[in-house]
C-alpha cells in the first residue's frame, strides 16, 4: 500500500458517508392458486458495510449475487426487509417518500443500459432539466445555465441539448445519464454497471470521465460491476458478494494481491488476461450459483468451494477482521 492510499483510508475512516447494518431484502415468491407466499428470494441477506466520503467502493459479484438489489435498497428505491441504512448519520431506513425527497438530491444512480433508462420522448435538455424542476426552486434561466454547465462537464456539446436520446451513440447516452445524475450536485452516486454495455474503447472514455468528475465534484461512488478489471481500475476498496452476502471486503491492492476467500481466489483466477507473466493458475469452480431462494446452509459458497470442510455446512461464517482493513467471511481464517 502506498503512503497516499494509507492516508486516504485513515482520513476517510473518520468520515463515513453511508453505513449499512445487517441489511436484508427478501422478495416473496408467490405460488399456488391463491398466490400465497411460498418462499423468499434472499437477494440481500445480512449485509453490513461502510462507505467513506470521497472513495469509490467497488461491489463485484456474478449475476444473482444481489449487488444491484443492494444498490437499489441503499437508495431506498426498494424498501429493505430488515436492517438499517444511515446516510450522513441520518437513519433513512423507514423514511417516507416525502421525507426522502430532500435527501434524494444527494444520492443519485447511473444505470447500466442508457438505451432503457432515458425517456426517448424527452430531449437531452428536458432530461437533464427535469431533476432541477423537481428538486430546486431555480428559475428557467438558472436551470438553463446549470444544464449547460453539466453538459460541458460530461463532454457533450451544448448544441446537442435539443436532440433526442436515439440520436446519440451508447457512450454519449451514458454521458447524458451521468449529466442527469450529477446536475443536482449529489454527494453519493450508485453506479450500477455503468460501462458494461459499452465497447472497450468507449468504456475507457466513460471511466476516465467518471474519475475526472469524482475529483472535480468530490463524489463518493458505489460502483457495482461484474467486471473485476474495471472495478480494480476505478475502486479504492472492493467488496465481493456471493448469494446476497459479502464474502470479502478490503482495499483494492489487498484484495487483488492477497485474496483470502476461496471464492475471490477463484473469481480472480477465472479472468482471462493479456499479460502472460501474471496469469494465475485457473481455479475452475464446479457447478452453478445455487438459487438465492434456497441458499445452502452455513456458508453459501460451500457447495462450490474446493476447500469446504464439515463446519462450513453447519455455521455461517461472519466477516472477520484480518488487519489492513481486510475482512473475510470464511472458516479457514478462524
Amino acid at each position: 500500500m502506498t503512503i497516499t492510499e494509507k492516508k486516504v483510508i485513515q482520513e476517510t475512516n473518520n468520515d463515513t458517508i453511508l453505513e449499512v447494518n445487517n441489511l436484508k431484502k427478501y422478495f416473496p415468491i408467490k405460488g399456488g392458486v391463491l398466490r400465497r407466499t411460498v418462499g423468499h428470494v434472499k437477494a440481500v441477506d445480512d449485509v453490513s458495510l461502510k462507505v467513506f466520503r470521497g472513495e469509490t467502493l467497488g461491489i463485484v459479484g456474478e449475476s444473482g449475487s444481489g449487488k444491484s438489489t443492494l444498490g437499489r435498497v441503499i437508495l431506498r428505491l426498494l424498501s429493505p426487509t430488515d436492517g438499517q441504512i444511515l446516510f450522513e448519520n441520518e437513519d433513512i431506513t423507514s423514511k417516507s417518500n416525502r421525507q426522502l425527497r430532500p435527501i434524494r438530491k444527494d444520492m443519485q444512480i447511473v444505470f447500466q443500459d442508457p438505451y432503457a433508462s432515458l425517456n426517448p420522448s424527452m430531449s437531452v435538455q428536458e432530461l437533464i432539466e427535469e431533476p432541477l424542476i423537481v428538486q430546486t426552486n431555480l428559475d428557467k434561466n438558472e436551470r438553463k445555465k446549470k444544464v449547460n454547465e453539466i453538459l460541458d462537464k460530461v463532454g457533450l456539446r451544448t448544441s446537442d441539448q435539443l436532440k433526442y436520446p436515439h440520436e446519440f451513440s451508447g457512450g454519449q447516452r451514458q454521458r447524458i445519464s451521468i449529466a442527469r445524475a450529477l446536475v443536482l450536485n449529489p454527494k453519493f452516486v450508485v453506479c450500477d454497471e455503468p460501462v458494461s454495455a459499452l465497447d472497450v474503447s468507449i468504456q475507457a472514455q466513460v471511466l476516465n470521465l467518471m474519475a475526472d468528475l469524482q475529483d472535480e465534484l468530490n463524489l463518493t461512488y458505489l460502483f457495482i460491476s461484474h467486471d473485476l478489471s474495471v472495478v480494480k481500475h476505478i475502486s479504492d476498496r472492493v467488496a465481493v458478494m456471493y448469494l446476497g452476502r459479502i464474502a470479502e471486503v478490503a482495499p483494492k491492492r489487498e484484495i487483488y494481491e492477497k485474496p483470502l476467500h476461496p471464492y475471490t481466489q477463484a473469481l480472480l483466477s477465472s479472468i482471462p488476461t493479456v499479460d502472460k507473466n501474471s496469469r494465475r493458475e485457473k481455479i475452475i469452480l464446479q457447478g452453478d450459483l445455487p438459487s438465492p431462494s434456497n441458499p445452502p446452509s452455513g456458508c453459501p459458497f460451500r457447495t462450490r468451494c474446493p476447500k469446504a470442510f464439515d463446519l462450513c455446512s453447519e455455521v455461517r461464517p461472519e466477516l472477520k477482521d484480518m488487519g489492513n482493513n481486510h475482512y473475510v467471511a470464511c472458516h479457514l481464517y478462524e
Partner: protein, 326 residues
C-alpha cells in the same frame, strides 16, 4: 504449419442494402485461412463486421444483406456456389456454430435430448435408439453428470452455462471439422465463462477440430487462441500469432484497444481511450477507415485506404506507418 487450410476466405464482401440507397459494407474484402487443429480469433468492437464474417461463412446472410463477392473455400469446395440444399449438408455436419445467447439458439419447446437427436439423425443414418445413446454420451462429454435426466429437460430448466454446454453438445454431434464460436461466453458469469472456455479447449483436442473464435475480449484471445485477426470497419487491420500481437502490436487501433483495457495485472491512472466512435458501415471515412480516430494519422491516410501487408514474418498490418518487408 505447411498443411492445407480447411477454410480459406478470399476477398469476402458482404453488403447490406439499407433504406435510402445506403449500402453498409459490413464485410469488405476479408482474406484469411484456418488450418486444421488451430484456434483463430477474430476480434473487434460492435460494428466491426466480425459476426457478419462468421455468418457469411455459414451462408446465413439474409436480406437486406448479400454476399457480394469473394470465395469461401471449405475443404476445397467453394461454399458461395453451393445451393441451399448442399449447404445444409455442410452446416452442422462439417461446420457447426454456437452463439452468444444459447436461450435464443435452442428451441424452447423441445427437450435437450430431442434437439441433439434431431441433429444426429438429420446428418447420420442411425436409429432412434443409437441416437439416444450417442446423445447421452455427448452430454456426458460436455459435462452433464446426470445426462440421462438432462436429456429429458427443456432449455428453460437449465442455467445459462448449462445451456451453452447443451449448445456445444449439439454442435459437436456430427464431429465438425470447424466450429464457429460467436461470443460463446459473453452472456456468462466469470466463473462459468472459465468452465466453458476450458471445455472448448478440451473439445478441440478430442474432436480434432479447428475453432474460429469471435470475441471482443482480448484476454480470452490471449489465453485460448493460436492466431488472431483484428477487425475494424469491415476489414482485417492486423493479423498475426497471439504471442506476436501482444508483444508487438503494430496497428494503432490494436494498440489503442490494448491501452483502453483495464487490467487486473497493472495499474494506470488513466486509461488510453480511443477518441470518437466506430463509424457506421454505410459511412466510413475517406481513406483509412481508422483515420478519423487515429493519433498517428497523416496526410495520405485521409486519401487512400492502406493494404494489408506483411510487415514482419507472419505479421500483417493495414497501416501506412509500416513498409512491407521484403
Amino acid at each position: 504449419m505447411e498443411k492445407t487450410p480447411i477454410l480459406e476466405v478470399k476477398d469476402l464482401k458482404t453488403y447490406f442494402y439499407l433504406e435510402g440507397n445506403k449500402v453498409a459494407k459490413a464485410v469488405d474484402g476479408v482474406d484469411f485461412q484456418i488450418y486444421p487443429g488451430e484456434t483463430v480469433a477474430l476480434v473487434g468492437e460492435s460494428g466491426s463486421g466480425k459476426s457478419i464474417t462468421s455468418l457469411s461463412i455459414m451462408k446465413l446472410i439474409d436480406k437486406p444483406g448479400k454476399i457480394e463477392g469473394g470465395s469461401i473455400l471449405f475443404s476445397g469446395t467453394d461454399l458461395i456456389s453451393l445451393t441451399e440444399k448442399q449447404m445444409t449438408k455442410i452446416r452442422g455436419n462439417d461446420m457447426a456454430m454456437i452463439f452468444q445467447e444459447p436461450m435464443t439458439a435452442l428451441n424452447p419447446v423441445f427437450t435437450i435430448g430431442n434437439q441433439i437427436m434431431e441433429s444426429l439423425r438429420k446428418h447420420q443414418k442411425i436409429s432412434k435408439k443409437e441416437a439416444y445413446i450417442k446423445a447421452v454420451e455427448l452430454l456426458k462429454i460436455v459435462g452433464f453428470p446426470r445426462a440421462e435426466e438432462t436429456i429429458r429437460e427443456y432449455p428453460h430448466q437449465l442455467s445459462g452455462g448449462m445451456r451453452q454446454r447443451a449448445m456445444i453438445a449439439i454442435a459437436l454431434s456430427c464431429n465438425p471439422k470447424l466450429l464457429i464460436a460467436d461470443e460463446p461466453t459473453t452472456a456468462l458469469d466469470a466463473t462459468i465463462q472459465a468452465q466453458i472456455l476450458t471445455l472448448l479447449d478440451e473439445m478441440k483436442e478430442k474432436f480434432h477440430m479447428s475453432i474460429l473464435l469471435i470475441t471482443h475480449d482480448l484476454g480470452i484471445v490471449a489465453e485460448h487462441a493460436d492466431r488472431v485477426m483484428v477487425m475494424y470497419g469491415g476489414q482485417i487491420v492486423e493479423s498475426t500469432s497471439v504471442e506476436r500481437l501482444f508483444e508487438n502490436p503494430l496497428h494503432p487501433y490494436t494498440r489503442g484497444l490494448l491501452e483502453s483495457l483495464p487490467s487486473i495485472d497493472r495499474e494506470v491512472e488513466r486509461l488510453g481511450a480511443i477518441k470518437g466512435i466506430v463509424p457506421p458501415a454505410f459511412n466510413f471515412p475517406k481513406g483509412c477507415r481508422f483515420s478519423d480516430r487515429c493519433p498517428y494519422a497523416m496526410e495520405e491516410c485521409h486519401q487512400s485506404n492502406p493494404k494489408l501487408l506483411e510487415i514482419e514474418t507472419n505479421h500483417q498490418a493495414r497501416c501506412f506507418l509500416y513498409k512491407e518487408s521484403v
